[in-house]
Amino acid sequence: MKSNRILRLTGALGLAGVVATFWLGLFVTPNAEFFGSLVRLLYVHPSMAWVAFLAYGMAFLSSLLYLWPRTRHPRFDHLAGASAEVGVVFTGLTLVTGSIWGRTTWGVWWTWDPLLTTTALLFVLYLGYLALRRVPGDPEVVARRSAIAALIAFIDVPIVYFSVTWWRSLHQPPTVNLASRHLYVHGIMAFTLFLSFASFTLVYAWLTAQRYRLYALAEKEADEGLDLALEERRAEGVPA
């Protein structure tokens, strides 16, 4: 029951943080010199991308733990599946909010820019991963092949992040540059940006936990269904 309370608190904090981010982003922060009011998209778009990376990182780690014989347990397979699904939702939102940004700053909804193309590829790769998880089969075989697919799909994550520095791109360099530890925004704008990162990370944790519970419930349902079928078979064998 303690985990229930922690989960509720995570959800409540995440929701409160998102509401505060929206209020600061839409009504409090100033317009930027060059982008004007469009800079307000900065408080949602990069955090969507950050959470997608985090989700795929978690799916990668859980898949590794599942494949490692000493740590192999269905809970790591469930965590990988849950995290990847939430990651796909956040990648979709990254693409849509990025497309709105592109329309207003570059004049087009979509362009085959390296960052956009590799992000779209990431979306498709993890959609494929989720489809693979649904292919029927022995649960252990399904979990193993899904874990291998998650490891392969993750190769695209660093490619997406570094694409703006590796190739000539329309997209500006990362607003928070992890390599040089340089921040391109300051004051209330930086605060709102970091609040957005923290709040959506909490939302990710809550959503992943909910999806994980769904996997656990489905497993329980399958087990109970099997028990019921076995009972019925046994009953058939008993003479009346």
Partner: protein
């Protein structure tokens, strides 16, 4: 403010909100399917046929 900014925020709210609601609804329906199976079997009357 341009309508694009509001559209961006709206997409995020609808996307995440819709997904969260769908997860909670799916959990409820899964719990609902599990509940009846967990009710204890009614005791048989002595001497009743199996």
């Amino acid at each position: 403010m341009s309508g694009y900014v509001e559209a961006g925020y709206l997409v995020v709210v609808l996307g995440l909100g819709g997904y969260a609601v769908s997860l909670v609804a799916r959990q409820r329906s899964a719990r609902g399917r599990l509940e009846p199976k967990r009710t204890p079997p009614t005791p048989r009357e002595p001497g009743a046929k199996r």
